[in-house]
Subunit: 241 residues, 2 copies
């Protein structure tokens, strides 16, 4: 299955000034597409750190997504960092410059010109109804941090990323984890390929643990779901979704 | 200043089933305390991956916090991983076992006994009104993933972590980033130690960019705030907070 890493670039997240909503969004989308997100990493706006982590993720995963640090101000260093990661120069894209000019009624200042700088050999993907393309270098897709734009840009190219989606069934149970741990072990012995998660909750009025049963094989999942149903007493299972 | 890394352990976050609220919480708390959070990393419930990252963070930062993966079920592997990270055995803590027994009216099963397993030589910190101590190995503090407990546990030991808090002033401005980028450069030339962030917003009715000015030196910050006020036309500054 295809794998992915997500790099969140931004002092504002690390300092608690802004809540990162791009990670949960992308995690959910990749899951639906069948891509395994293996790592989410949040780091500061520092070129050397970003370059090192981009390169490492690019080597490890099929797809890498970056969020943030693109724009016209001093703290936007993602393009420079990705160029450094792959040993490329930063060059001005004439075609991008032309687009930026067309969107303005006045001569471009230096800050606007910065928006046309790209790592040499970067790919521009035009898709959706966005005037600005998605920029891609090797297997790294560069997204803006602004949540509305992050989503639009990902949506515009989402069909590029697909694996076999994971099927999910949730059990909500009324016992403590320690009371059902043995049953879960028994279930895994019977279904070793099952992805089984157990998540206690303390503020839910009607259940104590959410169990997640997952598999890419719907028939295998169904057999595991049936097995767990028959293992647990009926009054322990609040609901199955 | 003290530095910190945060390790979020959990397939449920990477697969988009659960939203991580512990990161934004801890980021905000550490900022208030004056500790620099330099990295947030989310990884799966895999012993080798967790052990490697714990060790790397422990070497790089003053404090490391982990969230998740402690508990009685098969997918709780944080204790084993941290033991591996530091080359320690996992041993049963008799004092912890006694506490667990006292909380139960019945004999402990294997899953409950698992809650008393710790890396050899781990420190137990009793604080707040929690019956279960905070576990610490070297500079690594082990927290549960359940948000209510994560917060309670951090709160109970927060006075251990303190630096010089960062002072923050926000400007909300009505121009685009590209129109103020030059002013920001000029401000940084005058105040090279200033932490200056620029965050465009596209769905706010009354401003286009949030600027954050930060420093640990309140007097330095005030001079930078005054300088920026005099640089930008009055009608461009919607408000300052």
């Amino acid at each position: 299955m295809p794998t992915a890493g997500l790099l969140i670039i931004g002092n504002e997240i690390l300092s608690g000034k802004v809540v990162d909503t791009n990670s949960p969004y992308l995690a959910g989308e990749l899951r639906r597409l069948g891509v395994d997100l293996e790592r989410i990493l949040t780091i500061p706006d520092e070129i050397d750190v970003i370059a090192r982590e981009v390169r490492s993720m690019s080597d490890q995963y099929d797809h890498v997504f970056t969020s943030g640090g693109i724009g016209p101000t001093h703290d936007d260093v993602t393009i420079d960092s990705i160029a450094q990661a792959f040993g490329r120069e930063v060059v001005c894209s004439e075609s991008l410059l032309k687009r930026i000019e067309q969107g303005q009624n006045k001569p471009l200042n230096e800050a606007m010109r910065k928006m046309a700088l790209l790592p040499e050999g970067a790919t521009m993907i035009d898709a959706g109804d966005l005037w600005f393309p998605v920029i891609c270098v090797e297997n790294v897709y560069i997204f803006p941090g602004i949540p509305e734009l992050f989503r639009k840009k990902f949506d515009s190219i989402r069909e590029r990323f697909s694996g076999v989606p994971v099927q999910l069934t949730r059990f909500f149970v009324t016992r403590y984890e320690s009371e059902i741990a043995e049953d879960l072990h028994a279930l895994l012995r019977q279904f070793p390929e099952l992805m089984l998660g157990s998540y206690p909750r303390i503020s839910e009025p009607d259940f104590r643990v959410m169990l997640t049963l997952e598999s890419r094989d719907p028939e295998y999942l169904q057999r595991a779901v049936d097995a767990l149903r028959s293992m647990l007493p009926a009054d322990v299972i609040r609901r199955v979704e």
